[in-house]
């Protein structure tokens, strides 16, 4: 019982859990001040500020939302040009209350701060801002659903959250006229909550199938209620012809061609229907949801710890990054940070995962273009990375290695030596592949200038990650809002010009090199000593040896298993840089052991929604090459 008990969690002298207390965002005062400045500058009657959030937050009347979105986007001072996310949250209890707004009940009901019941006083909360809160009648709407918009400003590197409250059966005007990226999000909210978006060009179900009834993420929907789909119910998709080609008359016949959902070139379960004029694509439409595994509903029925394996299965090519993102979001809600050693290991494994993700993406992309050798070749270093992860925790692909507050187990003693070996061997593989394809005429003909997207469009769609950087926009969460100590590492954010398939290839290649650079620095610094999980028995299980021998530890163990982690009541958002871009988790806690809402912002989602626009006027082989370069991971795309 030596090493196990070395970092004992007992006796614990820190604070007891605060689950009946509201969540206090660390950056709350700053966010409130910034929110006040935004409100003062915009002077929009429909906005009322919500205080104490982790980013500037407003409640907006539904008839104002399009105006507010447009004002925020077009304001030269704030320039919230990127739609990061749009999702719903269901508060059924709120509607049934007489006042329509929830105050916290004794049993830990959900806190719903509203303009007329200011949130509980807290240190540093700015009561002066109340003059901005003079609510107009529409902002007091006691609706059941919160429809939440999150925007990002590249100019100021800041985020904003807008909430629209709607009752059951009410509708919201569509924001697709302002941000193209909202198109699919609105369909998703409609599918999951039944909120209707007026004037949406194509408001039909997106993740569930045609025979589905009800709206799955509503709180009163039974998580296991299935609806069977038979072949007769499958909707026929006929893509709209792009207006540019509508009146073009060629000698060819127009053909509609279906690719997928089981197709060699679609990497998973994507379905694209294209209309061809000769060889030119003149219309395209996609259908997704062929891997909708109900991540968000499953999260609501499990405890905080139990959600971790579900996060693995979002982007299964870089599972640890998902683990880290989710765990750090919960840690933010709990107000704890993982020990230095755990953070260091997390960072290293995240970078290894990023490399593995890019290797798979590049490898499979090249297979689609006939370069099978690279695929076989690149899988070798990838297997080595998985070997390292297997040495750490016993699992390969989906390790679920992190825990809330740290890591499941410590790394093996030769972790750094193993990592060094990997870092040493990797450049050869990257350089060899580059040599094989980079001056290869066949490859260049297939990728240069194929499926380009302009920086402006990419931002408008909400692109993040390598696909955005390939358009020349240097946005990387690791630089913009560093976590895990990325700010102390010396690395560059590679960007490329043109936004085409070739640019995406180049960016990914260079990112692997940058990741290796980070890894080398991390290895040189060495692993900090200490435990790998926080010393807090309300969050982390006590060591087994203690549990068998000490009464308190046994009780803590029992309590944590039975009652789970109970974070304070509130909501928060945390983002990390995933393999494909900004991977964000939005959490709502009601103080019980299950998350009230877990929203994952999947970076693929918007990237894929832009796909028809990118391939319009090109040919099918171009589309296949482009699809591989976007690295659409179905698990993440469909949640």
């Amino acid at each position: 019982m030596s090493t196990l008990t070395k970092f004992s969690a007992i006796p614990y002298t820190g604070p007891a859990p605060t689950n009946r207390e509201p969540y206090v965002a660390v950056d709350g005062p700053a966010a409130d001040a910034r929110g006040a400045a935004i409100a003062a500058a915009l002077q929009h009657p429909g906005m009322s500020q919500e205080l104490g959030q982790d980013m500037p937050s407003f409640i907006v009347g539904k008839e104002h939302i399009v105006d507010v979105l447009r004002a925020l986007k077009e304001s030269s001072e704030f320039a919230f040009t990127m739609p990061l996310d749009l999702f719903g949250v269901d508060y059924p209890k709120r509607e049934s209350r007489e006042s329509g707004v929830g105050s916290r009940s004794e049993t830990g009901g959900l806190r719903t701060p509203t303009p007329d019941t200011p949130p509980p006083a807290r240190v540093g909360s700015r009561s002066e801002t109340t003059d901005l809160e003079t609510p107009t009648p529409d902002t007091r709407h006691p609706g059941r659903f919160d429809v939440i918009y999150q925007l990002y400003s590249l100019k100021n590197n800041e985020r904003i959250r807008l909430k629209v409250r709607v009752a059951d059966g009410e509708s919201v005007p569509t924001g697709t006229g302002v941000f193209k990226g909202l198109d699919w999000y609105e369909r998703e909210v409609f599918d999951m909550y039944g909120v209707i978006f007026d004037d949406h060009p194509n408001l039909r179900r997106i993740l569930t199938h045609e025979a589905f009834q009800g709206h799955a993420l509503r709180k009163d929907y039974d998580p296991a209620q299935r609806w069977l789909l038979t072949e007769n119910d499958v909707a026929r998709i006929i893509p709209k012809i792009d207006p540019r080609f509508e009146n073009v008359d060629t000698d060819y016949e127009r053909v509609t061609l279906n690719l997928g959902p089981s197709h060699p070139a679609t990497h998973g379960t994507l379905r694209i229907v294209v209309t061809l004029d000769g060889e030119t694509i003149i219309g395209a439409d996609q259908e997704i949801g062929y891997l909708h595994r109900c991540f968000e509903k499953m999260s609501e029925t499990h405890t905080y710890q139990q959600v971790i394996p579900y996060t693995d299965r979002l982007n299964y090519c870089s599972a640890i990054i998902n683990n880290v993102g989710y765990c750090m979001a919960v840690e933010k809600l709990l107000g704890i940070t993982a020990p230095a050693r755990a953070q260091h290991i997390r960072l290293m494994l995240c970078e290894f995962m990023r490399i593995a993700d890019h290797l798979v993406c590049i490898g499979t992309n090249l297979v689609d273009m006939g370069a099978l050798t690279n695929f076989w070749y690149l899988f070798q270093p990838r297997e080595e990375i998985y070997g390292l992860i297997e040495a750490c925790c016993g699992a390969r692909l989906l390790p679920s290695y992190t825990r809330i507050g740290g890591l499941a187990v410590d790394v093996p003693p030769d972790f750094l030596a193993k990592s060094q070996r990997l870092v040493d061997m990797m450049p050869k593989f990257i350089n060899d592949v580059e040599k094989l394809v980079d001056r290869n005429k066949i490859f260049l003909d297939r990728v240069v200038g194929v499926a380009p997207i302009s920086a402006e469009d990419a931002i408008n769609f909400g692109f993040t990650g390598p696909c955005l950087r390939a358009c020349g926009v240097p946005y990387d969460v690791r630089k913009a809002s560093p976590y895990l100590g990325y700010e102390t590492y010396d690395f560059d954010v590679p960007i490329a010009e043109g936004g085409d398939t070739y640019a995406r290839f180049l960016v990914r290649m260079e990112e692997m090199r940058q990741s290796l650079k980070i890894l080398q620095q991390a290895i040189d610094r060495g692993l900090p000593e200490g435990p790998v999980i926080v010393d807090n028995p309300y969050v982390a299980l006590p060591p087994k040896a203690k549990v068998y021998n000490e009464m308190e530890s046994l009780i803590y163990h029992f309590k944590l298993i039975m009652h789970g982690i109970q974070p304070p009541v509130g909501e928060t958002y945390f983002q990390v840089e995933g393999g494909n871009g900004e991977l964000g988790f939005y959490l709502v806690s009601d103080g019980t052991k299950n998350p009230y809402r877990v929203r994952c912002r999947p970076p693929c989602f918007q990237i894929y929604s832009a796909f028809p626009e990118m391939i319009m006027g090109q040919t099918i082989p171009d589309a296949i090459a482009a699809l591989g370069s976007l690295n659409i991971i179905a698990g993440e795309l469909d949640h």
Binding site: A216, Y221, Q225, R226, Y290, R293, K297
Partner: protein
């Protein structure tokens, strides 16, 4: 039904075991799957092997499976690991991965099947020529795994027949390889007639 061992003890000429079969060569013992060890008979001066057509065909089939990866999710990535360089399923004759159901005889369902996908899975299965075999790879394909959810098929045997179930989430490439070997044995024993 497995074939009964062929009893030819009367005609066996005792020779040394293990030599290679063929004309002029030493007679050896040869084993066909599903049968006990038996010697090659020397009839009319040449080297013969007596068996049934079924056994012969099953033996060939088992050694040359052409998989169709119906890969939907994370398990498909492990399938890719199995076929690629490190684990290399080519050692067992199942490397000819075919994406067209009409050219394949082994469907490996690797990944979660959701209700939206189920008509597709069924259709693709029906497009495969007989005999066809199905491996359900991973917890999801087997039982829905830990997705007891409103949109997930709780095991693909709701839709199509399954020959092999592989446990794991995801199964390791070795695990999947083992299932292919097991399936090969099963085919060669002649147990599957479909």
């Amino acid at each position: 039904m497995p074939n009964q061992p062929y009893d030819s003890s009367g005609s066996i000429i005792q020779r040394k075991r293990g030599g290679p079969p063929g004309e002029g060569a030493e007679k050896g013992l040869i084993t066909l799957p599903g049968e006990s060890e038996r010697e090659i008979e020397d009839l009319a001066g040449g080297t013969y092997l007596t068996t049934t057509v079924d056994t012969m065909v099953n033996w060939a089939r088992g050694n040359s499976l052409w998989p169709l990866p119906f890969g939907t999710a994370c398990c498909a990535i492990e399938f890719m690991s199995m076929v690629s360089s490190h684990y290399d399923i080519a050692r067992f004759g199942a490397e000819v991965v075919r994406f067209s159901p009409r050219q394949a005889d082994l469907m490996i369902v690797a990944g979660t099947i959701v209700d939206k996908m189920s008509p597709v899975l069924k259709k693709i299965y029906e497009q495969m020529p007989e005999p066809r075999y199905v491996i359900a790879m991973g917890a999801c394909a087997t039982s829905g795994g830990f997705y007891r959810a409103y949109h997930v098929v709780q095991g693909i045997d709701e839709i199509i027949p399954v020959d092999m179930w592989v446990p794991g989430c995801p199964p390791t490439p070795d695990g999947l390889m083992y299932s292919i070997l097991k399936l090969k044995e099963k085919i060669q024993r002649g147990e599957i007639r479909r």
